[in-house]
């Protein structure tokens, strides 16, 4: 039951809106962006299986969206739904911080 879709053009493929709308902004096919997408997909499958949708936006293809969506660093993950909008930058390697950033997990991390 995989719902993640990678869309190059920035237009979502399916009209049905999932509960979690995530957008990943990248600039070309770099190692960092590939890592970010991989990390994101793994994390979503673990925690949000069946409830999410990922849209990948390549800013090299759609440079206008960089200013429109206030993107500065890449990769940037934006949680568009549920509100409020959240931004997470980096290759999403630090899973705990991503979970906190997305409000999937509360701010207090378990003691190591």
């Amino acid at each position: 039951m995989k719902k993640s879709v990678a869309v190059e053009s920035g237009k979502p493929v399916r009209p049905v809106k999932a509960e979690w709308q995530l957008r990943l902004y990248v600039a070309g096919q770099t190692a960092k962006s590939a890592a970010a997408l991989r990390n994101l997909q793994r994390l979503c499958e673990t925690h949000l299986a069946g409830r999410y949708e990922i849209e990948v936006i390549d800013l090299l293809v759609n440079p206008r969206l960089a200013a429109g969506d206030q993107i500065l660093a890449v990769p940037t993950l934006v949680r568009r739904l549920p509100p409020p909008i959240k931004r997470i930058i980096g290759n999403l390697a630090d899973t705990d911080r991503v979970l906190v950033g997305l409000d999937i997990k509360s701010g207090e991390l378990p003691a190591a």
Partner: protein, 515 residues
């Protein structure tokens, strides 16, 4: 001043900022195709300078620009720029300027591993393409430091960004907050090494003055002083004056001072056009009247005159001068005379100068009267007065303006002349007015201390107000003594009761002088 004059044939290409004075200091503008760093504390005019650089580029130099802001949003910037008389929105519609507001809110950003600032590069590249930009402003890129925690990445990316701008041939202005130990708080000067300009906003004796200094300009000569600047209604103006050379022309034409007796003392022809005259004297010796006479005579010749009054309001001055037969109001109504009356403490010394500079540029007078210069500085020992005056005099000479400065001095013999030494050397003609007190009567006297390039009388003249202006009466010597006032009249056989009668005798003297 040790600035090298000749930039040489290998001088680097420059992009004019269009900012009054700044292009003169830098010998043509900022380094073309390279970044320039502008540092300064909060509120010292960095954004304004950067904005004018973009607007002037788009409007006057055919170079579209991108203004990327990190602190203000586009509306705020447009409002600020509008206060300088530029319509930013219109330039954006005409695709001459592109604005991009980069909003960074640390609390909204979670950092989770490696990243770079390609998003910023893409935005910038997109904006540059949109308007085909030649100029870029980043105001102020240091905001990134508070927005992103990984400063190592940030520094590497900034280095890459400045390199990237250079590779694209962008003439860029990067602003930065002034730092405590380095020029900018985050040491941006390490990356932007071609040109660094520092802005400063100081308050001295409760009067604030903005100053600008070119700290560094690789590959180019530049003025090294601190220059005052003003953010006025027409944008920024920097006062570069203190000309490096004395190369203003020296016309041989002479102009009358409006005081026939004084003209007679100056070889019968008055002062040189475009020269400067200092009128110093203790209180009540008639300095303002001399200034007004010169103004009146110039207006009568059909010339435009600008009078800066720092002691009296325009109406007060006009009323007082009417009492000695000088009708200034008439010239004001005709538009020949502009009187700018203000309290000297309204602005700093240099800001006065900038203001005068602008006013003179706008009105283009042939004669300027400053009454008095001594009031421009609260502090008697103000070391700023002389360079400021030098700048003013240079500027006026280059603008072909004949200038009269009055100066208030104390009433004590030798100290009196000494107190003017600072400025008198800048002047071509120096008149000294004094009070003579003898035999229970005070009379006024005038002498020409110097007048460059012309023979002039060395005698002291008695200085009398009449209802037809100022009269100078030749020395009256009797029994080996110079007599003035009633003593003179008595010796001349005129019975007098009061001082008003002095004029009655002066008047025929005038008629005779006019033939």
């Amino acid at each position: 001043m040790t600035a090298k004059r000749d930039p040489g044939p290998a001088s680097i290409a420059k992009a004019a900022t269009g900012i009054e004075g700044l292009d003169e200091i830098t010998g043509g503008g900022l380094p073309r195709g390279r970044p320039t760093l502008i540092v300064g504390g909060p509120g010292c005019g960095k954004t304004m300078l950067a904005a004018e650089f973009i607007v002037q580029g788009a409007v006057r130099h055919g170079e579209p620009g991108v203004f990327m802001m990190f602190e203000e949003n586009a509306e705020e910037l447009a409002a600020n720029v509008r206060s300088l008389g530029f319509d930013l929105d219109k330039l954006v519609r005409q695709k001459k300027v592109a604005l991009d507001y980069v909003r960074i809110e640390r609390s909204e950003i979670e950092e989770t591993g490696e990243y770079d600032l390609d998003g910023l590069f893409i935005r910038l590249a997109h904006a540059i393409e949109t308007v085909n930009a030649r100029r870029v402003v980043l105001d102020t890129v240091e905001a990134l430091f508070s927005g992103l925690s990984d400063h190592a990445v940030l520094r590497a990316e900034l280095r890459r960004l400045f390199r990237w701008l250079k590779d694209r041939g962008m003439t860029a202005v990067i602003t930065g907050e002034r730092g405590a130990n380095s020029l900018s708080r985050y040491g941006l000067e390490e990356y932007v090494a071609d040109c660094v300009i520092m802005l400063d906003h100081r308050v001295n004796e409760q009067i604030s003055t903005r100053r600008l200094r070119v700290v560094k300009y690789r590959g180019s000569a530049h003025g090294t002083n601190e220059y005052p600047f003003l953010i006025g209604t027409n944008g920024l103006s920097v006062l570069p004056i203190t000309s490096l050379r004395l190369d203003h022309p020296a016309p041989a034409e002479r102009v009358a001072t409006g005081i026939p007796g004084l003209d007679r003392m100056l070889a019968g022809k008055g002062i040189y056009r475009d020269s400067s005259m200092l009128v110093s004297g203790s209180p009540g010796t008639g300095k303002s009247s001399v200034g007004a006479s010169v103004a009146n005579a110039a207006c009568a010749r059909g010339e435009r005159v600008m009078l800066f009054a720092y002691e009296e309001s325009a109406a007060q001055l006009a009323r007082n001068m009417r009492s000695i037969g000088i009708d200034l109001e008439r010239w004001v109504k005709m538009g020949r005379l502009h009187i700018h009356a203000s309290r000297p403490t309204l602005q700093g010394l240099e800001q006065h100068l900038v203001f005068m500079y602008q006013a003179v540029r706008d009105f283009e007078p042939r004669v300027v009267v400053v009454d008095p210069i001594s009031n421009l500085s609260l502090d008697r020992d103000d070391s700023g007065l002389k360079p400021t005056l030098m700048r003013l005099i240079d500027f006026l000479k280059q603008s072909h303006v004949t200038a009269v400065f009055t100066s208030l001095i104390g009433d004590t013999g030798a100290a009196l002349a000494e107190s003017q030494i600072g400025v008198s050397s800048l002047m071509d003609t120096w008149l000294l007015l004094s009070n003579l007190e003898a035999n229970g009567e005070r009379t006024r006297a005038l002498q020409v201390i110097k007048s460059r390039g012309m023979p002039h009388s060395n005698q002291v003249r008695e200085f009398v107000f009449t209802d037809q202006g100022i009269e100078l009466i030749d020395v009256f010597a009797a029994e080996g003594k110079v007599l003035t006032g009633r003593l003179r009249l008595g010796a001349q056989g005129v019975p007098v009761a009061d001082r008003g009668a002095l004029a009655a005798v002066a008047a025929p003297a005038k008629r005779k002088a006019r033939r």
